[in-house]
Symmetry: C2
Subunit: 131 residues, 2 copies
């Protein structure tokens, strides 16, 4: 029972972290994500030529779009968390008035905190067609 | 030293698994990937409306494109593996005559074997522009 409870707690905590960061993101504030990223975070989105490596590269990217994202409607669809020791995988679809997204977040445990080690955001088929 | 050696071995093993699966993929054979996927694999690519859940859904997708992928040139660019216990994160850019891709693979240890628990393939900025 103890192990099972611990896993549920980690799943709940990770989903809570993600939702809190997205609430800020939807209002143009990227610091919610930056504050929970690991220094060694690696990052993909459709607007980069290749992978970004490290928190400094991600901060530079997010500093450039601060205040620009404004979502009036967004939803985390079918979130799935798999916790394995001190690493965890979170996947979901993100539906919003800013499009439909495929989202992967890999979290890693650092001391008492879960941190994002990897983010991968990409557009779904519907948004590829309209791109 | 023992811990360090074990991590290096897992990193090498995971990269080897990925490369072998891609060698078959490039010749139109998706079974290299299917054979190393976990039953609970979750999957994103730009041609789906949403996440695919489970090996049966992925097999159905791959069965439909068997023999269609033919890459004469491909390269795994800047692979990065982070092993954390029995879960591991592999990210890389995939350059090929079939386009430029952002690739995330999450592996999980099942007994003596590493298995793919999650794949996320998306196109890079250059290919978004030409889509």
């Amino acid at each position: 029972m103890a192990a099972s409870t611990a896993v549920l707690t980690a799943e709940t905590e990770i989903l809570h972290l993600e939702r809190k960061a997205l609430e800020r993101w939807a209002k143009g504030d990227p610091d919610g994500f930056l504050e929970i990223c690991d220094p060694d975070v690696v990052y993909f989105d459709p607007f980069q030529e290749k992978r970004l490596d490290g928190i400094d590269a991600l901060r530079a990217l997010y500093d450039g779009i601060r205040g620009q994202v404004q979502l009036s409607r967004w939803e985390i669809v079918d979130p799935k968390v798999t916790v394995c020791g001190e690493m965890a995988l979170l996947t979901f679809n993100f539906d919003s008035d800013g499009g439909g997204w495929n989202t992967t977040e890999v979290y890693i445990r650092r001391g008492a905190e879960w941190r994002i080690l990897h983010s991968h955001w990409s557009v779904t088929k519907a948004d590829m067609r309209s791109a």
